[in-house]
Amino acid sequence: MSETGPERPSQPGDGPPERMDLHETSTPEGQRPAEESGSPQSVGGEPAPEASPAQPPADATATPSPAVTASGDQSQPEPDPPPAPEPDPIRDQLVERLRAVLGEAVVDSVVQKGDLWVRVHRDAWRRTAQLLKDSGFTYFCFLSGIDWLPNPELSNRYEQVFTAEGDGADPEETTPSTIETGLAGGETRFQVFARLYDVQRKFGVTIKADLDDEAPSVESISSVYRGADWHERETWEMFGFDFVGHPGLRHLYLPTGFEGFPLRKDFPLLARVVKPWPGLVDKEPVPGEDEEEVPAT
């Protein structure tokens, strides 16, 4: 950690040393089955989680997301396990190591289709990045944010189109009225996520962190990865996330003095407000589904 970095707030699971070699092949607990590290591959939850002290139990306060994500919660088996997921020892081992070092700060993780998502507590955001960088993830790919707020205005407009065409779309079904988060779950509206690569071992990881709804703020990782500087400036102006410790949060794309955060879901897309989407007006019937004429709206 550089001396210039801001003081890191203390947090649960802060005990183990900062620099821990994640390359290590032999785990302290010995080789454990790959299915055990909190991935959707943990079907049924046969391996007893109590047997592995390095793996903390799932965050009890976390509301289990409706998405098909894996939480460490192994007492509740997946109702519909994905068909024959291949074990992914490299990624599972990384998750295991992260959990061992960061402890409770690793909230959730998913290994799916040869890719890895790890959600950490926002206080451990910078620490996770530093840890990953020290363990070989030297290539910074990108950093951005997600606003999970559903956009009812937008959805309604599409429903008009789809229901008019007899798509069978039920408006109640298609309009998500509550926040539904994606892979590795989430508890709040805003999420910051970043992608890092290990160019030696040739695999990457997406790290995520939940941010506060009212004042989204997270520690800057621009002192860990220089490339994060511009990405954080972009995320700051587009989502309104505050990056504590960033050297200069100036506007990158937008003019100085721009008000609002364009990529938030509640920021209206002006072009759509002043003029209806032309696709609604002049629409060609789709070949093969021409059982009914679409009335021009």
Binding site: T138, F142, L183, R195, Y253
Partner: protein, 390 residues
């Protein structure tokens, strides 16, 4: 700022002291705007530089003159409509923009295009690389004062674009890729014509090698200029030829599991240990050569069959997230697509474009260099404005 690194300051101070000793001239600071309309910036990028005599002491790229808000627009488009937008991100490597997005949607939808479609995609991907990097190979000469190469580049790029047009109907915005396959199959006689064009592309590369790489002036202007150390490049997220010219053996075509057909061909990833402007030019020159090799081999073994999987007329992509990146002409390009399972388009589509990261190193890289080298470095980093601003 974080980029004010100790070693770099020491280096600049050393350079400045040396310059003062050598010329015994009092210099005066000035601020210079390069752009937004300077031809060296490939579009409307403005770079504010503060000069001390002939040396740059501070540089700050000002982008956003061309920001079109694609990430927001993607959220109000359906999946099939997004390719029209993203064609315009890197307008020289047009087709290559579509592929990672389509692959991401296919990954979410859990469908795979038939083999013939994958092979044709790969061929077109490499042709986009030739159209893009071919222009760079000539354009770099123009930036350094050699006018001739760019005419050769435009001439030979035309053949590639004609092939594109023959198959897709679009020269610059092919809009050829579909979720589950391709718009249509190749026209009759296309394969033979393509082989001819590949031959011409190889000749073009030889020409460029004779005209520029062997040229003494070119070498003096580029060797040792704008050196990017390996670790700094990775830190900034440089990708493509920029990072391979710094000796990092990292090419997503080979290093990432992908349904495309690169693994079927025999080709090589070129790296260069120097990390300077010359290395970046040289690596790109080799890449175009490798591209022609890939296309030639794929044309030989092009499988037959349909080019489109059975797809419904309306996509209802299941809920999920996918991240797919490919090795585009400018570097790593990727799409982080989030679907909410509804009938509309992507819930969120983060576009990771290569030039954004490639240009973010400029404030670091331009410190302490001389003004003419600014142009060399910007040209050798090779960015497209649409790829920065999205």
């Amino acid at each position: 700022m974080t980029i004010t690194q100790h070693q770099q300051q020491a280096y600049i101070a050393g350079q400045a002291a040396e310059a003062r000793l050598r010329f015994e001239l009092e210099t005066e600071g000035m601020t210079l705007n390069i752009g937004p309309q300077h031809p060296a910036t490939h579009g409307t990028l403005r770079i504010v530089v503060r000069l001390d005599g002939e040396q740059v002491v501070w540089a700050d790229p000002v982008c956003g003159y061309m920001h079109r808000g694609y990430e927001k627009l993607c959220e109000v488009r359906k999946y099939q409509q997004v390719t029209t937008l993203i064609n315009r991100i890197d307008w020289l490597g047009h087709f290559a923009n579509e592929v990672p997005f389509i692959l991401a949607v296919e990954q979410l939808y859990d469908v795979e295009a038939p083999p013939r479609a994958q092979w044709i995609r790969t061929i077109f991907f490499e042709m986009a690389r030739m159209a893009n990097l071919g222009l760079f190979l000539g354009d770099m000469g123009v930036q350094l004062g050699a006018i001739t190469p760019v005419f050769f580049a435009f001439r030979d790029r035309e053949h590639v674009l004609n092939l594109m047009e023959a198959a897709t109907g679009g020269r610059f915005h092919p809009n050829y890729d579909r979720v589950g396959g391709l718009k249509e199959d190749l026209p009759k006689g296309w394969v033979d014509e393509c082989k001819e064009v590949m031959k011409r592309q190889r000749e073009f590369c030889d020409e460029m090698e004779e005209l520029l790489v062997g040229n003494e002036i070119f070498q003096t202007r580029t060797r040792g200029i704008g050196v990017i150390p390996q670790q700094i490049g990775l830190d900034y997220g440089l990708s493509g030829a920029n990072i391979r010219a710094s000796g990092v053996d990292w090419d997503l075509r080979r290093d990432r599991p992908t349904p495309l057909a690169w693994k079927e061909a025999d080709w090589k990833v070129w790296t260069h240990p120097d990390g300077d402007s010359f290395a970046r030019y040289w690596v790109r020159l080799q890449e175009v050569r490798e591209s022609t090799k890939i296309v030639d081999q794929l044309l030989e073994g092009l499988p037959s069959g349909p080019v489109m999987a059975k797809m419904p007329a309306r996509l209802r992509v299941p809920k999920g997230e996918a991240w797919v990146n490919t090795e585009n002409p400018l570097g790593e390009m990727g799409y982080y697509v989030v679907s909410d399972g509804g009938p509309s388009g992507p819930f969120r589509c983060k576009i990771r474009s290569a030039s954004f990261n490639n240009i973010s190193i400029v404030p670091w890289l331009l410190r302490g260099v001389y003004v003419p080298d600014v142009i060399t470095i910007l040209a050798s980093l090779y960015f497209i404005l649409g790829d920065i601003d999205r």
